[in-house]
């Protein structure tokens, strides 16, 4: 179990709201409550799977941790240092230790740069090139299972799986401790998906990496993650060891989400069909945000935001628990 001292990353009550502006004066008429009070921590070498449906705030949470957004309130402690309180110079040394792999390898690689430039751009910035650029780039490509002779080619000459390998090589080039993997295999064919998952697991072993692994595919997350965090409408509803969450989810939303997951070859229990749609994050429901769709909703759920309940290695935000 992670605590403040052994953890590589600790997020405390993080809130990220986007203003909704209207009219000629761009007056702020409301907020999108994209991430609304999220707390969790991650150990070194841990893979935390982050699941939830589109618009639940997974990507905003990841972007905020990477300092790509400035949060409204809350803390992100990386290696014990509060990222949003550091001076510019202190930050520069830390930034390279946090990296990201995006979903779409076509959009995230610059089509006008060749592979050599893509892989060594960060290395040059930080003066970390070992030997000459070519040799270093070849070494990085070998790490991700690509032939070193491709360094003068351009991204469009590669297949989706190969491009994702290049993205991974770029992400590990600065020897990071922590990588956000934002749907890294969703755009890939099934037979190639497995290759990339294996590669990510190998690299974790080799470099003691921690991954925040975002995916909507519960089979992938259930397979790769050590722990799983479930988000709904900007809040976390359940966090726990992957096996426990998959086999015995405690929060009614996790139960519905996991019952809807398709696991080929496994005879399913009854699907829980949720009624209606996810409410807009501009006007989240009062009390427990899940109460309008919850099959087990009680009067208290409409009024009070559920508090964290800890049982063993699991934390659940539900009035029932």
């Amino acid at each position: 179990m992670s605590n403040l001292y052994s953890s590589i990353l600790a997020v405390r009550d993080l809130k990220m709201y986007f203003p909704v502006r209207r009219g000629v004066m761009s007056r702020t008429v409301g907020y999108v409550y994209a991430v609304d009070g999220v707390t969790f921590s991650m150990d070194k070498k841990e893979i935390l799977g982050l699941v939830g449906e589109s618009g639940c705030g997974k990507t905003t949470l990841a972007r905020t941790i990477l300092m790509l957004e400035k949060p409204v309130s809350g803390q992100v402690l990386f290696d014990g240092k509060d990222l949003f309180k550091l001076r510019r110079r202190e930050l520069a040394g830390l930034r390279k230790r946090l990296q990201i792999i995006f979903q779409d390898p076509t959009a995230s690689l610059n089509p006008r740069m060749n592979i050599l430039d893509i892989l060594t751009e960060g290395l040059l910035q930080y003066g970390m090139v070992e030997g000459d650029r070519e040799t270093h780039a070849r070494k990085l490509l070998a790490e991700v299972g690509l032939d070193g002779d491709v360094i003068y080619r351009y991204p469009h000459e590669f297949s989706g799986g190969q491009r994702q390998r290049i993205s991974i090589a770029r992400a590990i080039s600065l020897r990071p401790d922590f990588i956000v993997c934002d749907e890294p295999v969703s755009a890939l064919d099934v037979s190639v998906q497995a290759q990339i998952i294996n590669l990510l697991l190998d690299l974790r072993e080799r470099y003691d990496l921690s991954y925040l692994f975002i995916s909507h595919d519960l089979s992938v997350v259930g397979y790769i993650a050590d722990r799983i965090a479930v988000m709904y409408l900007g809040r976390m509803v359940e966090v726990g060891p992957a096996g426990d969450v998959v086999e015995d989810p405690l929060h009614p939303y996790s139960q519905a989400l996991l019952s809807a997951a398709t696991a080929p070859g496994v005879y399913r229990k009854k699907r829980i069909i949720l009624s209606g749609e996810t409410p807009s994050p501009v006007a989240p429901p009062p009390g427990c945000v899940f109460h309008p769709r919850c099959p087990k909703s009680m009067p208290v759920c409409r009024k009070e935001v559920p508090r964290e309940t800890v049982s063993g290695k699991r934390r659940v935000w539900c009035h029932l628990c």
């Binding site: 064919d189 099934v190 190639v192 096996g243 997951a261 398709t262 399913r268």
Partner: protein, 322 residues
């Protein structure tokens, strides 16, 4: 069960300035009345082209249906004239596309789009058609169906748009619905809702031809499965048979490489290499460069079909050697 749709030896080719290639090569299968048949394969394997060919929706040029028969209730759809085809589309065979946002017109209200589909095929008054359309929106559990009739597609979420597409596909009570990746763009809880709908449809004797890349979707939905690789069918079986004893090395590889949320984590058995492009298909067996069991014969000959009983067949030399 009597066959509703029989596709025999279908080949479709595309010719562009740079290359000519076969996107679908000698594909045969059938769909019976009230059956849900899945067609699974990776991107570029020809599954969507197969589906579009059934409705003769392949743009020509560059596409051309070279040979084969598409028998629908005994009638060869490749031989009928355009007016018969127009009469058949939507009414007897309808289609659900992957992206509802691009399949619906952004400029017309939902209600008008549904009424247009009805009025093309049935002599109903505007009022009757409107009421019929609304009743189908209710049938697919769209909340506030009456109001949604006046909405434009952009005002609906992806899940709601897909329900409108399904309502449109069902409006004229077709015998066969072709669904091309109907839930790929949707969240899992919405996918579960759409699955329930498709199952309900089947109970009313509508057959579904479901195209997907996702073995999970196949497992959830289908009675029978057809596996395609590099423009050819490589295996066909009942669902349980396919998952319990896949015969073709490609099917075995697909199943072994699908991650499962389990505690005892063994390394995923990935299929090496990548999906070939149609311009570079190998002679002989097209899977041989990624296959662990390749031998000399695979390079020279196209594997023949081996019948494994109970409708299970696969095209691989491993099986025919006995």
């Amino acid at each position: 069960m009597e066959p509703l749709l029989q596709v025999k030896g279908l080949s479709v080719s595309f010719t562009t300035d740079e290359a000519a290639f076969r996107a679908v090569d000698d594909v045969s299968f059938q769909v019976s009345v009230g059956e849900i048949v899945g067609l699974v394969g990776e991107s570029g394997c020809g599954k969507s082209v197969t589906a579009l060919s059934v409705l003769r929706l392949i743009p020509s040029p560059p596409g051309k249906i070279e040979s084969g028969q598409i028998l629908f209730k005994g009638e060869d759809l490749l031989k009928v004239d355009v007016s018969r085809m127009q009469n058949l589309r939507g009414k007897e065979i309808s289609m659900i596309f992957q992206e509802p946002m691009s399949a619906l017109s952004p400029l017309h209200r939902i209600g008008n789009q549904l009424v247009e589909a009805i009025s093309l095929h049935r002599a109903l008054s505007k009022k009757e058609a409107w009421n019929l359309a609304e009743s189908y929106l209710k049938k697919v559990s769209l909340p506030d169906a009456g109001q949604k009739m006046f909405a434009y597609p952009y005002q609906l979420s992806g899940g709601m748009q897909q329900r409108v597409m399904i309502a449109m596909a069902l409006l004229l009570e077709p015998d066969l619905v072709i669904a091309d990746e109907p839930t790929t763009a949707l969240d899992v809880t919405v996918q579960a809702q759409i699955f329930e709908l498709l199952q309900k449809m089947r109970k009313e004797h509508t057959a579904v031809f479901l195209i997907t890349h996702d073995m999970g979707v196949i497992w959830e939905m289908c009675d029978r499965v057809i596996v395609m690789y590099a423009a050819r069918v490589v295996e066909e079986a009942r669902r349980d048979t396919l998952f319990q004893s896949p015969a073709h090395p490609y099917t075995q590889g697909l199943l072994a490489s699908s991650p499962k949320p389990v505690r005892n984590k063994t390394r995923l058995k990935a299929i090496p290499g990548q999906v070939p492009s149609p311009i570079h298909y190998l002679p002989g067996c097209r899977f041989r460069d990624r296959c662990a069991h390749t031998h000399g014969r695979c390079e020279r000959e196209i594997p023949e079909w081996v019948d494994l009983g109970d409708g299970h067949r696969a095209a691989c030399f491993l099986l025919s050697r006995g």
